[in-house]
């Protein structure tokens, strides 16, 4: 059965070339060889894209994709909520539903997987991450609003035969990653990645009777096949993946077998099972290296069964995504284009308590993206796509990226674009189920849970200058981005602490973000990275205009890395230190609660520190130890109404600071090359 499925997909792929190469063409993501930096910003690429290499990912505890951005100022990693322990990310101040998150250019974290999807990709699988701020490319769809994050996994061709990573931390979390690789022939290679993690003991550092992070276990297996034949121009990828993730959280005394869906104790279980199959086929035309065609297909089956106290939430998503791309030139390689078709189908079986909110979404679209590059100072990418979606209608999505090098070592960038999406209000906000809040959707005329589609325009301006600072290599960047919502599925926790309201935006909603970066290579192997970020994200709610809750207006970021010279046999020390400061954050409205369950309007400001030391003994063996939240800053009250979890003031969703205090970890990495 599986065999014929594979075969069929390959055959359907009439013609081709791998999308990743295509993507590199269209956004010109340049990989700078020889540079040892973990974060690479090019002065030549058109879009505001940062490349994060696997080297950078080794700098954090980095158990999964969500945690891999902790040393990167472009992306804010939120504190895991008291319940699920899952870290959410934000870009330009907007949460992950507004970011197009792709894995090898196939949209991966979307729909049902929006809340926990980032934690379903283990960090060790990742080869590199490309972060594009702003509108992004039209090639992968119309949904991205604030940016795109694309993850490339380690490619079977070029992988090492064996990699083992074991990790343990003081929060009783353990992890084992094993990668196997085999070159089957000179054209075929395969990798098998097996990831397992578990949190085996209950932690309650703040003595509120609730676990600070969930018990859990995850099994995650992927088998990848890569085919490359340079003579014929054919390339292909096949992936099969299975993931099973189980979490249990809530009160320490909660026993799921005894207490599930009762008021004995408050508890929650979130079980997710997911199966993915994807294929890519690509063909580069003979004698025309600039012309190629690519076809990719992805199928996934995602099934989440969960309850949060007395709230039950089950969602099953069957999804099919297909993308056909043709790349070529107009007269010469200064004028490139990409054009093609997308098709998506999503079948949701979704149940919120007893309400059946199941639906089927499908869309078909055509895109055209033109890239001009004078190979010198000026380049731009102009893209447009036309889509038909059964709930969003027929609509056009334009995107533009412009790059200009006004003088040496400087780059000025501008981008603008439109995004449109259907908000999966329950899946995206499921952390609110772990509260006594009543969910109410106030609109009934829209096609998505009664709401209309979200539409936003994003504009951005960025300037980077590299220079010498007292003889040290330095660079500075200033980024300004604005997102204007024409319509938004407003999530309102400002009205009442006993309610969460969803309604169509009436009035204004915008997100302004300003980021100032200053990076310095003090001496060779000693690098300093600093950033200041300003966010002004405001929405007109029913009860007035407020800043987006749980978003700091001001943030500082600092990172210092130092590595000793590599001595014989690859021996080396590496040190890394990250500091984050967050200003006050608007908190959800709790003013009507009884006095002891009231929070102030704004959270206090605070800072956190992470550090890591890696000792490489040889090119095949290394040990690392590190600490997170070394300053041991924790939120004073992580669970509101903890003493009466079935009472009206119970809320686990208001998390503005770490819930878990200091955390220390250690791990080993072993390779056979």
């Amino acid at each position: 059965m599986k065999t014929s499925l594979l075969f069929l997909t390959m055959l359907c792929a009439a013609v081709s070339f791998s999308q990743e190469t295509i993507k590199q063409d269209s956004l010109k993501t340049v990989t700078v060889e020889g540079s040892r930096k973990g974060i690479k910003k090019s002065l030549n690429v058109t879009a505001n894209t940062t490349l994060v290499t696997s080297k950078e990912l080794l700098k954090a505890a980095c158990c999964n994709l969500a945690e891999s951005f902790e040393t990167n100022p472009s992306i804010d990693v939120n504190f895991s909520d008291a319940l699920t322990g899952t870290k959410q990310i934000k870009m330009l101040g907007l949460t992950s539903p507004y970011i197009l998150i792709t894995e090898e250019n196939v949209p991966s974290v979307r729909g049902a997987s929006q809340a926990y999807g980032m934690s379903f990709t283990p960090g060790t699988w990742v080869e590199s991450i490309q972060i594009t701020k702003g509108a992004g490319s039209v090639v992968n769809g119309f949904e991205s609003i604030s940016g795109q994050i694309n993850t490339e996994l380690i490619k079977p061709i070029g992988d090492i035969p064996l990699f083992v990573n074991a990790y343990g931390d003081s929060g009783s979390r353990f992890e084992l990653n094993t990668h196997f690789n085999k070159k089957v022939s000179d054209k075929w290679a395969t990798s098998l990645f097996v990831h397992g993690n578990a949190r085996v003991a209950k932690n309650d550092m703040n003595d509120d009777g609730f676990m600070d992070n969930p018990l859990g276990k995850q099994l995650n297996v992927v088998n990848r096949w890569q085919y490359a034949n340079p003579e014929s121009g054919w390339v292909s990828f096949l992936n099969v993946r299975y993931m099973n993730d189980e979490k249990q959280t809530g009160q320490l005394d909660f026993d799921p077998d005894r207490d599930k869906l009762t008021t004995n104790f408050w508890g929650s279980e979130i079980n997710t099972e997911r199966l993915d199959f994807s294929s890519k086929v690509g063909y580069v035309f003979k004698d025309m290296p600039y012309q190629s065609i690519g076809f990719q297909n992805a199928f996934s089956n995602h099934n989440q069964q969960s309850y949060f106290g007395l709230n039950q939430y089950n969602i099953k998503q069957q999804s099919y995504y297909s993308n056909l791309i043709f790349n070529s030139i107009i007269s010469n390689t200064m004028h490139k284009f990409a054009t093609g078709l997308n098709f998506t189908y999503d079948k949701y079986a979704e149940f919120v308590n007893l309400a059946d909110v199941s639906r089927i979404d499908n869309s078909v679209g055509a895109f055209f993206e033109y890239t001009f590059d004078d190979n010198d100072k000026f380049s731009y990418i102009l893209g447009g796509r036309m889509d038909y979606h059964n709930r969003l209608g027929v609509f056009f999505t334009p995107r533009l990226h412009v790059k200009y090098n006004p003088w040496e070592k400087a780059v000025l960038r501008f981008s603008a674009g439109r995004g449109k999406r259907a908000a999966n209000i329950f899946a995206e906000n499921q952390n609110l189920f772990a509260s006594s809040r009543v969910f109410s959707v106030l609109d009934t005329n829209g096609k998505i849970y009664g709401l209309d589609a979200e539409i936003a325009w994003n504009y951005g301006l960025s300037f980077t200058q590299n220079f010498m600072f007292f003889g040290m290599k330095a660079d500075t960047t200033i980024d300004f981005y604005r997102t204007d919502f024409q319509n938004q599925a407003v999530v309102d926790v400002m009205n009442s602490p006993q309610q969460v309201l969803f309604y169509n935006l009436d009035g204004k909603s915008y997100a302004n973000s300003l980021q100032l970066d200053f990076n310095l290579e003090i001496i060779k192997h000693l690098n300093l990275r600093t950033a200041y970020k300003y966010y002004d994200i405001a929405t007109d709610y029913i009860s007035g205009s407020f800043q987006r809750p749980l978003q700091a207006k001001h943030r500082f970021f600092g990172n210092v890395e130092y590595a000793t010279h590599i001595v014989e046999k690859g021996k080396q020390w590496k040190f890394d230190f990250t500091w984050n400061w967050l200003g006050k954050q608007q908190l959800p409205n709790t003013a009507t609660n009884p006095h002891h369950d009231r929070l102030p309007n704004f959270s206090p400001s605070f800072s956190t520190m992470n550090a890591q030391i890696t000792r490489t003994f040889s090119s095949t063996f290394e040990i690392y130890v590190g600490g997170e939240n070394i300053g041991n800053y924790t939120q004073h009250k992580a669970v509101l109404g903890a003493e009466n979890p079935f009472g009206p003031t119970f809320d686990t969703s208001i998390v503005y600071a770490p819930v878990f205090g200091q955390m220390y970890y250690a791990g080993v990495r072993f390779k056979i090359k």
């Binding site: 599986k2 065999t3 014929s4 594979l6 075969f7 390959m10 055959l11 792929a13 009439a14 013609v15 089957v184 075929w188 085919y227 014929s232 054919w234 292909s236 096949l238 063909y283 035309f285 003979k286 004698d287 025309m288 290296p289 600039y290 030139i329 007269s331 010469n332 390689t333 200064m334 004078d374 190979n375 010198d376």
Partner: protein, 116 residues
């Protein structure tokens, strides 16, 4: 192993149909490597720009290390000699056409390559 076999057969089938199609276009995508003298990144930009100024040049990439200009051209629209002339005009010697001293002298200081 069965999976592999099927995939390979699938790939082969597609391959056959493709090579047949690609061959007809050959004269429109003629590949040439020519030697062009130069030094640096600035030279690279200048040489490639000059090559692209000739209509019919589809791809032009000059490598600093071995001074080779890799061309893909439509032979129905242009000839190699036209491209070499265009490159010589901006001051760079090619194997066949040399730049005039006047054009060579106009080059930026760092681009003053050693003439053969």
């Amino acid at each position: 192993m069965n999976i592999m076999k099927n995939i390979v057969i699938g790939l082969l089938l597609m391959l056959v149909s493709f090579t047949a199609q690609a061959q007809e276009k050959k004269s429109k995508n003629a590949k040439y490597n020519i030697e062009v003298n130069g030094n640096c990144e600035m030279c690279k930009k200048r040489i490639e720009k000059a090559a692209f100024s000739v209509s019919g040049v589809k791809s032009a990439e000059w490598h600093i290390d071995d001074h080779q200009l890799h061309l893909i051209i439509n032979e129905e629209k242009c000839s190699l000699i036209e491209i070499k002339k265009a490159i010589a005009k901006v001051g760079h010697d090619t194997d066949e056409v040399k730049a005039t001293d006047e054009d060579y002298q106009k080059l930026h200081g760092c681009c003053m390559y050693e003439r053969k």
